[in-house]
Each structure stands twice: as structure tokens, then as C-alpha cells.
């Protein structure tokens, strides 16, 4: 932590950056919060731990890239997935590489509040402590020990690249590529089901969607000025949260994210009704990987997937 703070102080003092985006302690026990640091003293607020779930790259494209207009050079602290979003931005010409200073931190995985709440049977956690491979969850009248694995986000459990593939500074030890065996397990499990079962699963999950579009709005890859759901001329999909329209919304979004989703989990954490949006994202990711050998955000010199491979599409995509 100290090393990270010192690095940021130095970058600000040396005027190498005008702003640093990082995480600070949040107001609730299980969450951190993004901070925007322009003065070296503020760097003391910076943290990096299992609560730093936000993909900070999002801020680079937010509000028509307002930060980029305000600050000449922006430092940004990144986990593996956040860094891959930046790589994606660079390959899609959204961000100029020389305008960002990427500060990598070694990510050990982020906890998911929903899973923690499940462990406590819904009771509120007021404090959590890490003890080796265990997490101690403390509430008003309980103290529960669970294993880290149990509360890590799904996307972290199957994360292959916890380190930033592209960075200017790296604080701490690299973790290297992780040999996750069942990266696409949820997809494979899903594929094994019959078409009817798949449909049922999808309908059940997506019937709960309230169509607030929080998932889209937090998604670093969803930066279109005009999203297809907002278009009313022609109107692509119905606006009411009926299950068929919900599914269409999510499927189109998935397709727009083909080769662009970095599996950072931002959409899952943002959804106010806690839908599991990952299986479909992951399905698309798997297809991209198997068909084109492509994983989003790994190589800064690669052309964006959708621009380079347009043919060779198989028809049996999502439901087939």
C-alpha cells in the first residue's frame, strides 16, 4: 500500500501526471470507492485490496471523455481486467496511449458482496478480516469464517490474467498468467443443457431485469454515444421490462461486446437486482477465443476483433 501511495506521490510531484484515478476506503465495510487525486498528500487515501471492484478505466470514456479534456495526463491504477479495458480503448482509438500512465497492481481477486451476504444468511456484515486463506465476517451478533474461494467474484475465480498486460509502473509482485482449468466452466455447463433448459434458465434470470441499464452504463466497453436501446427511430426493442424484450436487450448487448468484454464484473456488481450476467458474456468470449483465438484487451497492437474478423461466422451462436 505504502509503495503504491509513494509511487503516486512521486508521479504527481514530478508532474508526470495531473490526476490519478485509484481506490480509497468506502463508506461500507465491503466496498471501496473510486478517488480522483490531484495533490500528492491525498495519495495517503489510496488502497488496494479485495474490495476494489470498480473498473476505473470506465472513467476515461465517461461523459464524452471529459477527464481527458480537463487533464493532460492521467494516471490510473489497474487490476488485470481494468488494464485490458484500457488496451481495448487504445485499440479502438478511444484513448491515446501516451495520455495515460498505467500503474499495475497485483490482484488476488475481489470479493463479491452478494456471496458474502449469502454466507451470513442475509445478515449485515459490519467488518471483515482476512486471516490467511480465510475471511472472517463479523456482524452485530455473529462471527463467521469462510474460505476466500467462497466469496471471490466468479470472474476472479476464472481469471487468467490478473496482471496488467500493459503498464508503465507495476507495484508489487507479478502473478503471471494463471492456469485456470475451468475458465469457461459456466459456459460448458450451460452448453450441456438442452435447448429447452437453456431457455428456461435464461428466462428465469432475465425476467427479473428491471431495465435500468445500470449494467450498460457501468460497462467500460459500452461507451457508444447512442446506444441501440435508446434509439426510437427505428425502435429496436420494446422498452417495457417484459422477459422477451429483456432477453433481446441482453443478447444484443452481448453481441456488441463480442471480443470487447474483458470480464471485469462491473455489470454484475452494478445490477441492483443482482442478475448473473456473466454466463452469456462468457459464452461470447469463449466463441471469440475458439473461433478467432482472440481475447479482448491483451495486445495493444492488435486490431479490434470485430473490425478484423467479420466473415466466418457460424450460425449456431447463442441458442443453437
Amino acid at each position: 500500500m505504502k509503495e503504491l501511495q509513494n509511487k503516486v506521490k512521486q508521479l504527481l510531484n514530478d508532474k508526470e501526471v495531473d490526476l490519478v484515478i485509484g481506490w480509497a476506503k468506502g463508506s461500507l465495510p465491503l466496498v471501496s470507492t473510486p478517488v480522483f487525486i490531484t495533490e500528492a498528500e491525498q495519495a495517503e487515501e489510496l488502497i488496494f485490496d479485495h474490495t476494489c471492484r470498480n473498473n476505473l478505466a470506465t472513467y476515461l470514456t465517461k461523459d464524452r471523455k471529459r477527464l481527458g479534456k480537463k487533464y493532460n495526463k492521467i494516471g490510473i491504477i489497474v487490476k488485470g481486467c481494468d488494464a485490458r479495458s484500457i488496451v481495448l480503448y487504445v485499440t479502438e482509438n478511444q484513448v491515446k496511449r501516451d495520455k495515460v500512465v498505467i500503474i499495475g497492481v497485483p490482484c488476488q481477486g475481489i470479493f463479491e458482496s452478494r456471496k458474502i451476504i449469502n454466507c451470513t444468511n442475509g445478515r449485515e456484515v459490519l467488518e471483515q478480516k482476512i486471516a490467511g486463506d480465510q475471511v472472517i465476517l463479523i456482524g452485530r451478533d455473529f462471527e463467521i469464517k469462510v474460505s476466500r474461494e467462497e466469496v471471490l467474484r466468479d470472474c476472479c475465480l476464472s481469471c487468467r490474467y490478473p496482471d496488467a498486460p500493459e503498464y508503465d509502473h507495476f507495484i508489487g509482485e507479478h502473478r503471471g498468467e494463471i492456469n485456470v482449468k475451468d475458465e469457461f466452466k459456466i459456459v460448458e455447463d450451460f452448453e450441456k443443457k438442452s435447448a429447452a433448459e437453456r431457455w428456461q434458465l435464461i428466462t428465469e434470470e432475465y425476467s427479473k431485469c428491471i431495465r435500468c441499464y445500470a449494467c450498460r452504463n457501468v460497462c467500460p466497453s459500452c461507451y457508444c454515444n447512442y446506444c441501440f436501446v435508446d434509439n426510437n427511430d427505428p425502435q429496436w426493442i420494446g422498452k417495457t421490462p417484459e422477459v422477451t424484450d429483456n432477453i433481446i436487450f441482453h443478447l444484443i448487448r452481448n453481441l456488441h461486446l463480442a471480443g470487447r468484454c474483458v470480464d471485469c464484473g462491473a455489470c454484475v456488481s452494478a445490477c441492483p437486482v443482482n442478475l448473473d450476467l456473466r454466463p452469456l458474456n462468457k459464452k461470447v468470449e469463449k466463441e471469440m477465443k475458439e473461433r478467432f483465438g482472440y481475447t479482448a484487451g491483451l495486445d495493444i497492437n492488435e486490431k479490434p476483433a470485430m473490425a478484423s474478423h467479420c466473415e466466418n461466422e457460424k450460425q449456431d451462436f447463442i441458442m443453437g
Binding site: 468506502g26 463508506s27 461500507l28 466496498v31 471501496s32 470507492t33 473510486p34 478517488v35 480522483f36 471492484r53 470498480n54 470506465t58 472513467y59 465517461k62 461523459d63 471529459r66 452478494r114 442475509g122 445478515r123 449485515e124 459490519l126 452485530r140 434470470e205 427479473k208 428491471i210 431495465r211 435500468c212 441499464y213 445500470a214 452504463n217 457501468v218 435508446d230 426510437n232 420494446g238 422498452k239 417495457t240 421490462p241 417484459e242 462491473a266 456488481s269 452494478a270 445490477c271 441492483p272 437486482v273 443482482n274 442478475l275
Partner: protein
């Protein structure tokens, strides 16, 4: 004050369903929400308020305003029985009363037919609201900042205390008193019950955060509404809108047509001021182009504009927005920062 044992709840719900459409907290996917129930077994008992808000009962997330065909326009079917809601919290009840102010009239033009929202009124008319004392408010609750608290019974029709094995029901409004008078179960609460309430109440209140004095908030907001501090206050918001969708008092909506010229419907859907398109005009001009302006709108509306029009905050301190915000924009911190901010 009458009392009923846990086992007698199903009799109460059955009795209610005879003359009401009954809503209560149920499990809804991974969340808890108010849904129509037909028996007590569906109810999800929890110490906390539901994760989804109760406004959906009276102001559904999407509703058909009318359908049309070549032959003309048809209003939606009548509501039928009035609505009773079991398992509300004090803050939930208050939020419903706030929304009633908005939908029943226009603030400066009471009793003008054209400003009455027929869909809201059809559902709200003769409703019976059971609000529960909160015995264990979670750390995100701050209703005590708004002259309320976990045992505030005002605004309820019937106030319910769950003592661990029985429910104590107290009629508050005329409608609530009348309902209880007509209810066959008549065992009255005695001194031991009142003592129990006292203990529970003290415990519940001890969980609340220190009260922050909000009397200066409205004027302070007006003073700083044009101040650069909003840039800082809004920096981390990503305008996802989750806070407004989860908020029991936010009431903005969109109206859309679905169908073609021969046949279709006009629907209304929740909407929110956090979205860029909310105010974007056909010309391309957008008075709230920047995220900063949108965050300011939310804060101003809740703690200044609404107060100006209705003399109360458009916030109950339920804490739902604090729980859902993906970037931990904590409205309590924003309020406190504003109160202590020295304007430039």
C-alpha cells in the same frame, strides 16, 4: 393495541384478502420485493427492509396507460379491491405518502382534475398500510435524520411491532383503527407487551447513526447550486441510474408507444434524471449534458426543490441507494460534505 401470535398471521392475511388485494415482502430471485400474495406462507420475514422498493405496488415499473385499435382508445381495466400492504417499514410508508403528494395533485393547483394521476389514484384509493417497527436497522439506515426513526408510527394506518413470537397491531389512522375494530381477533396487548416494545425500541434506536441536523440543508444547497464543488461531488458517479430505480421516492417516468398505427399501447416506465437522454432535446441541445449537472439534479431535487414545493425532503433515509451504488456514492456523505462546505 391488539396482538396476534405468529401462527395467527395466516388467519389475518386470509381475512385481509377477503376485502383487499394483499401485498407483502416475498423472495424475488436473489432480492426481496413487495408482490401480491394469496397466503401468509409466501411472506418473506426479514429483519431488514426489502431490497427492492415498495413504490412498484402503486406506481409499477411499467404499466399500460391505455390500449388502442382503429376503433379507438381503451383505458386499462379497473383496479378492483383496494390494496393492503403488509410488512412495510416506516420509511416505506413515508415514501408512499410522499409519492401520493406528487401523483394525487399538482402542488400549486390542488383539486384540479387534470393534474390527478388516475393510475396512481386507482391503486392508492382506500389502501391500508401496515408499517413495521424496525427492530434491527442495518447500518445504512438514517431515517432518524429526517425526524423519523425505527419506531415512528406516524403516516401508518396500522403500526406493527414484531416481538419475536407475536405481532402487536396498533391502529394509527382512522382507517387503521376501523380495520382493527372490525377484526375478529381481540386479544389486547398488556403491560408486558408494552414493556417488550420499550426494550426493543431502545435497542433499535441505539443502532441508529448520530443525527445530522438538516434544517440548513435546503438553503445551503441553493447557495452552492452553481459552485464548482459539484464537479468533485459528482466525479465518481457513472450515471448508472441504479440509485433512482431502487429509490422508493424517485418518481420520474417516460411514456412510450408500443405497436403500430392500427393497434398498440401507450406505456409508462420508470426513468431517471441520471441519464443523459433524460433531458436531451430533439435539437441536440441538452440542458444537463454533463454528469455533474445530473448528479446535482438528484441532490437538489431531493433536498431542495421538493422541500420548496412540499415542505419535506424527498428522501426517507432508507439507505437503499447506498447499498446499490456500484461506486459507493454515499448520499449521507454527500449531505455532510455539502453542510460543511465553505463556498467559494
Amino acid at each position: 393495541m391488539i396482538k396476534i401470535k405468529y401462527e395467527q398471521l395466516s388467519a389475518l392475511i386470509d381475512f385481509l384478502t377477503e376485502s383487499y388485494q394483499v401485498y407483502a415482502p416475498v423472495k424475488h430471485g436473489k432480492e426481496t420485493a413487495f408482490k401480491k400474495i394469496s397466503s401468509a406462507s409466501e411472506i418473506n420475514k426479514s429483519k431488514y427492509n426489502t431490497s427492492l422498493n415498495p413504490k412498484d405496488i402503486f406506481f409499477p415499473q411499467s404499466e399500460v396507460m391505455f390500449t388502442y385499435t382503429k376503433n379507438g382508445i381503451k383505458s386499462p381495466p379497473e383496479q378492483g379491491k383496494p390494496i393492503a400492504v403488509w410488512g412495510l417499514r416506516t420509511c416505506d410508508t413515508k415514501s408512499i405518502r410522499m409519492l401520493d403528494k406528487v401523483f394525487a395533485n399538482a402542488y400549486q393547483m390542488p383539486d384540479k382534475e387534470m393534474y390527478k394521476d388516475p393510475y396512481w389514484i386507482a391503486r392508492y384509493k382506500n389502501c391500508l398500510l401496515f408499517s413495521f417497527a424496525c427492530n434491527e436497522p442495518p447500518s445504512t439506515c438514517f431515517c432518524n435524520w429526517f425526524n423519523s426513526g425505527p419506531y415512528d408510527s406516524s403516516d401508518s394506518d396500522i403500526f406493527v411491532t414484531d416481538t419475536g413470537d407475536e405481532y402487536l397491531l396498533e391502529g394509527i389512522s382512522e382507517r387503521g383503527i376501523k380495520f382493527l375494530a372490525g377484526y375478529p381477533e381481540t386479544s389486547q396487548a398488556d403491560q408486558t407487551d408494552l414493556d417488550k416494545i420499550k426494550v426493543l425500541r431502545e435497542k433499535a434506536e441505539s443502532y441508529m447513526p448520530p443525527v445530522v441536523e438538516l434544517s440548513g440543508l435546503k438553503d445551503k444547497l441553493l447557495k452552492i447550486w452553481d459552485d464548482p464543488v459539484w464537479d468533485e461531488l459528482s466525479a465518481k458517479c457513472i450515471n448508472c441510474g441504479a440509485c433512482a430505480y431502487i429509490c422508493p421516492t424517485c418518481h420520474c417516468f417516460d411514456m412510450r408507444d408500443e405497436g403500430n398505427e392500427d393497434k398498440g399501447k401507450r406505456v409508462r416506465l420508470w426513468d431517471c434524471c441520471m441519464y443523459q437522454l433524460f433531458t436531451k432535446e430533439a435539437s441536440g441541445h441538452n440542458p444537463r449534458e454533463l454528469s455533474t449537472y445530473r448528479v446535482r439534479q438528484r441532490v437538489m431535487h431531493k433536498y431542495n426543490y421538493f422541500v420548496e414545493n412540499y415542505q419535506q425532503f424527498l428522501c426517507t433515509g432508507c439507505g437503499r441507494c447506498i447499498k446499490v451504488c456500484p461506486v459507493n456514492m454515499d448520499i449521507r456523505q454527500i449531505i455532510q460534505k455539502i453542510l460543511t462546505y465553505k463556498e467559494v
